[in-house]
């Protein structure tokens, strides 16, 4: 009798494990960022031509220290990036009179400059955007995918990192934190 109970329990455990493996879905991609709480890694980002008159040919992060920043990584093939782009643009329009700076970095999109221009046209992006063509900035920032958004406070420390499309609620909360 005891033997039968043991066999039933063993089979149930193995079956449960098998079902868990089948049903657990996509692995969790929200891995903690190693750069949160640290100084944001510097970059010199070549900007798209349309931003040259207002922001120059390239944007160096180190030269912006003292300003809170929102750094958003995107790609032209990334569907959630299309979801968040209008939200980012509307917040940039609302906050551009403060000293906060939004920066868009197109990455994992080698040589897709035309696709990048079409993306910016579609949402009328007016905050500086540039291409990280070799993904060098992505590695330096420990990027796991796109979209990812980093909130940087005035002393250049990374306050928060969001994996996935940025929402109004996140922007409200995190902008309040870095503008403090």
């Amino acid at each position: 009798m005891t033997r039968i109970v043991l066999i039933v329990v063993g089979v149930a455990l193995l079956g449960g494990l098998f079902a868990f493996g089948l049903l657990r879905g996509e692995p969790n991609r929200d891995i903690p960022s190693a750069i949160v709480g640290k100084q944001a890694p510097n970059f010199v980002l070549p900007l798209y031509e349309r931003f040259h008159p207002d922001f120059g040919e390239s944007l160096e992060l180190a030269a912006q220290v003292g300003r809170p920043m929102v750094v958003n990584f995107w790609a032209s093939w990334c569907a959630p990036c299309y979801e968040e782009a209008p939200v980012l643009q509307s917040y940039w329009e609302r906050f551009q009179d403060t000293d906060v700076l939004f920066v868009g970095i197109q990455t994992q999109d080698r040589q897709q400059y035309d696709a990048g221009r079409a993306f910016m046209d579609q949402f009328g992006l007016s905050f500086p955007n540039g291409m990280d063509d070799a993904s060098a900035v992505s590695v330096e920032w420990g990027l796991f995918g796109v979209p990812e958004t980093y909130f940087i406070n005035r002393d250049g420390t990374v306050e928060y990192r969001l994996v996935g499309p940025v929402t109004a609620a996140v922007l409200d909360e995190q902008l309040a934190a870095i503008l403090r």
Binding site: P27, I31, P32, S33, A34, I35, P41, Q108, D109, R110, A134, S135, A136, S138, V139, E140, W141, G142, L143, F144, G145
Partner: protein, 173 residues
């Protein structure tokens, strides 16, 4: 004593040794070509060695934008960039440990395909050993029990024994 044996024998002049006939510029040219070939061979060998070191290190790093793939196995752009960075750092003379530290500073311990042997990660390394030792212990105890029970004499009912004996003697099957 200055003449050659051939001259002395038949007066026929033997051709001078090959190298002696070549003008100096040809020799220098040959030496140069050989040196370049040797250097090119050495450079190619060094490149192959460097490439294999890059892949050796990349095999131990997890591709951040892939699922269950190493930086060596992935064709993702980010993985390619990471391989380029590894090569660049090797060329700058950095050690394997320094390169791993560069990536863990940016991605945390997650980037290592093999968990580091410290802190909470030690559980991953020690648990299989503990489980194996426990398994060996349980099997040993069970085998001992089985052997001990096999050594114990079997108690047989005397009436049954007599019946079996009687059956054997009478030739009953």
């Amino acid at each position: 004593m200055t003449g050659t044996c051939a001259q002395r024998r038949g007066g026929t002049r033997l051709p001078a040794p090959v190298d002696a006939r070549r003008p100096l510029p040809t020799l220098i040219l040959r030496l140069l070509v050989t040196s370049i070939a040797v250097l090119a061979g050495l450079a190619a060998a060094q490149e192959v060695e460097l490439e294999s070191r890059v892949f050796e290190i990349a095999r131990q790093l997890r591709c951040p934008v892939c699922v269950s793939e190493s930086v060596a196995d992935s064709s993702a752009q980010l993985a390619q960039q990471m391989r380029e960075l590894i090569q660049q750092q090797l060329e700058e003379g950095r050690s394997e440990a320094q390169i791993f530290s560069y990536f863990t500073n940016r991605y945390g311990d997650w980037i290592m395909l093999e968990p580091p042997r410290r802190g909470i990660h030690l559980v991953v390394w020690l648990l299989p050993v503990v489980a194996a030792l426990l398994g060996v212990g349980v099997v040993t105890v069970l085998v001992r029990r089985w052997l001990a029970s096999a050594r114990e004499p079997i108690e047989v009912d005397q009436a049954d024994l007599d019946r079996v004996r009687a059956d054997l003697e009478s030739g009953a099957s």
